[in-house]
Symmetry: C2
Subunit: 341 residues, 2 copies
């Protein structure tokens, strides 16, 4: 059935030993250039492909990296994953995908069932509401490096890759302020997630810098979906003092908020400005188009993977925390003169 060609076949063909073949294939120096050329040639002719199970067994490596994230059905994560896959593929590594559906239980079960013999490293974006991250610490202790991206736990010392959540939020809110909005609310994510907190801090800092009021009822924490954004907006509209602008933790929630505003016939921009975070393509599809802080999703995937390989290849690589800058993209939703032009 599966008639695989092995280094043994190459060796037999050339009347040399398997170890020479192995060495030639892996470009080890102490092998005659001629022999090497012949080996490479026959390998090509015979259509030889290395058996990763065997190399893995022999070397104690798997050629696989695992990636654990909540879901891939949104712009951000699917783009990060694309960056990861591309980089890993270029290095000859396989990407094994695990989805938590943002459930801490599922995340835990994935980790517990993970055979660390089958994975050389892990890239993870944690689920919200993870009480504890000790399961990740265990994996690291067992010798499997982990690089966290986007949703990173503060309690673990390892490499992390993030967009500039604080500055991005600050820039987004300051932009609103510069455009004349004064009563700025924040539709936040769930409490406890590091980047949610950073975006909140950026929001607060911008308000403070410009001496604008901070009202607790103007800060709403809830899940990440569009529906949550919509409901949060309805809540805000019930405030004693209704805000004149919204900074949302992500574009999905910003879009939910905009839908709520449309339903209530409130003019977006003119009456209430809206700014999101991500630069989801949907932000140009909705009308008015959504001002947002663009996250470098692809680069985050790329960089995370690069760092992971450093950990894999240098056993005591000092961990790094990398922040990748993004930029504010101004569109219609934050312009108070949008309908007068």
């Amino acid at each position: 059935m599966r008639n695989l060609v092995t280094i043994k076949d190459i060796a037999k063909n050339l009347n040399i030993s398997v170890s020479t073949v192995s060495r030639a294939l892996r470009d080890t120096y102490d092998v005659n250039q001629e022999t090497k050329a012949k080996v490479l040639e026959t390998a090509y002719q015979l259509n030889y492909k290395p058996n990763y199970n065997a190399t893995g067994l022999a070397k104690g490596q798997s050629h696989n990296i695992g990636i654990i994230l909540p879901w891939i059905t949104n712009y951000y994560f699917s783009t990060v994953l694309t960056g990861i896959q591309q980089f890993a593929y270029s290095k000859g590594y396989n990407v094994i995908l695990f989805l938590t559906n943002d459930s801490p239980e599922r995340e835990l079960s994935i980790i517990q069932n993970l055979s660390i013999a089958n994975i050389d490293g892990l890239l993870v974006s944690i689920s919200s509401n993870s009480d504890s991250c000790s399961h990740f610490q265990n994996i690291i202790n067992e010798g499997i490096p982990i690089v966290f991206f986007d949703r990173v736990p503060s309690s673990i010392s390892t490499s992390k890759v993030m967009q500039d959540d604080y500055s991005g939020a600050f820039a987004a809110v300051e932009h609103l302020i510069e455009n004349g909005y004064k009563k700025i609310a924040h539709i936040a994510g769930p409490k406890g997630l590091c980047f949610t907190e950073k975006r909140l801090q950026g929001y607060l800092a911008a308000l403070k810098k410009h001496n604008l009021p901070i009202r607790e009822e103007w800060i709403i924490f809830s899940g990440f979906s569009q529906e949550y954004g919509e409901n949060d907006m309805y809540e805000l509209l019930k405030s004693e003092e209704v805000p004149d602008a919204i900074f949302a933790v992500n574009d999905r929630k910003a879009i939910g908020a905009m839908i709520a505003l449309k339903n209530k016939k409130i003019a977006i921009g003119k009456e209430i400005g809206v700014v999101g975070f991500t630069n989801d393509p949907a932000s140009t599809i909705i009308s008015p188009s959504l001002t947002t802080f663009a996250e470098p999703a692809f680069d985050i995937g790329h960089k995370s993977c690069e760092l992971l390989f450093k950990h894999i290849n240098k056993k005591n690589f000092i961990y790094e925390e990398v922040t990748i800058p993004g930029k504010l993209i101004v569109r219609e939703s934050s312009r108070s003169n949008i309908f007068s032009s």
Copy 2:
């Protein structure tokens, strides 16, 4: 460093042989219930995890399935992949992801570099413009089953999973006709792809059934992105006879077309109706909302994976071609009275 516990450790612990442990772990019948219980217990205590590299080597299986698709940064593919991942995970299989970026060269190179020793089966959605599918046939001949989904090649006899492209297109176009549109154009995908062709056939059949004109200049073939859809619409607006409705091959192109119409200040629905295909969430974000034929993306992933496992486990499993139904979701873009209500 990585101090892995193996069946040898369990055996030593219990003073029995590794083969007994192996048998107990795999639930083979000819092993004493008591011994088995003890083995399971110690395995649990010791936190034993099987080494897939070793089982793979010994059994000639890898516990991995590969998935090859153009990209994952859209609703359809990311949802299919979610379905695949979920099903595979439940069966204890790893999903290894490969992205072609819709490039036939990259697809070919992925296949050529693929070591079939590392993969038990393949799920693929081919890239457009693949001249030939012989590389896939080779893989199948080497004993690796492939199940195709969505973008399936007609030339290969193996299991395939598709949505109901023909009926979906037919239903979409008939819906336009029933709503009074008479000059219906089709913004198609690239030529040569099976489902593009089926949607075209469904479109043509609906027009024929209702004795409506078929004009070649009303059928435009191009890529799948929103930008192509927008350009295609500009083309159509230059027709000698401008159509009064558009059936687009997917929602992205439909949205592109809507953006073109908005730019030209043409009332969507009232002047020109639009129907898409997919039910991308963006179809509810755009305004007016987009009527579309919903594809069962998650189920397609699920079913494809299920079929693949049948091929993997029963060597001569007769291939199946499965069509999963979808349904038309009527929204605002196909209602000619949308602005009069």
